[in-house]
């Protein structure tokens, strides 16, 4: 069966450390992979997109890697801050270059950054 796995347990880290979140998937061949941030009671907010032919993408303190052989993406937040505390969602674009974007979401990993 097709599924996306993210750490279901919350990740607790101290301020200033690097947070690493994992997204594993099976039986998908995504054209793109995206990471979103979701705060309680709010809609997800886009953070980064990485294509199937890209290994790594960076944006400020954020870095995402994409290994299509391992079927895994890692999402890193360096110099983490309490304001980074949220749930981070991995989403696969399985539209297959059809021109219509179809995202499948993981359940998300909750990140808690302590001062």
């Amino acid at each position: 069966s097709q599924k996306i796995e993210q750490n279901s347990e919350a990740l607790n880290i101290q301020e200033g450390k690097t947070a690493t979140l994992t997204c594993n998937y099976t039986n998908y061949s995504p054209a793109y992979l995206q990471w979103y941030r979701q705060d309680p009671g709010r809609g997800p907010v886009f953070l980064l997109l990485i294509r199937e032919n890209e290994k790594e993408k960076r944006k400020e303190r954020l870095k995402v890697t994409f290994d299509t052989t391992l079927k895994q993406s890692l999402f890193h937040i360096t110099a983490s801050q309490p304001a980074d505390s949220a749930t981070y969602l991995c989403a696969l674009d399985i539209s297959g270059h059809t021109g219509f974007q179809k995202l499948v979401f993981g359940t998300g990993t909750r990140l808690l950054v302590s001062p």
Binding site: Y32, G41, V45, F46, Q101, V104, T107
Partner: protein, 112 residues
């Protein structure tokens, strides 16, 4: 901040009532989506639209219906609400393929 709006933000309603959840975007996006999300669970696509007069059902079966008469407007309707419809409903829109999806703040629906 995304220019996509949902009303109401919270709705508590009795079984059997007809409800319409509103979603509007001012970005001129052709593609719009409705997702359903239960607490601690993943988002499930229930409806999507390529553009005006185009609507499709998503992966998760839903008793709701949608319409797309105007580009900016994508309302979701439940003809007869039931407690099993209690959930958070998120509307989103996107432009080019591979582009990000912009989400609204969501409507938290509770059916008693």
């Amino acid at each position: 901040e995304a220019d996509i709006y949902q009303t109401p933000r919270y709705l508590v309603i009795g079984t059997g009532k007809k409800i319409t959840l509103e979603c509007s975007q001012t970005m001129g996006h052709d593609k719009m989506y409705w997702y359903q999300q239960d607490p601690g669970m993943e988002l499930h696509l229930i409806h999507y639209s390529y553009g005006v007069n185009s609507t499709e059902k998503g992966d998760l079966s839903s008793e709701s219906t949608v319409s797309r008469i105007r580009t900016e407007h994508f309302p979701l309707t439940l003809e007869s609400a039931r407690p099993s419809h209690t959930s958070q409903y998120l509307c989103a829109s996107s432009g080019l393929a591979g582009d990000t999806q912009y989400f609204g703040p969501g409507t938290r629906l509770t059916v008693l």
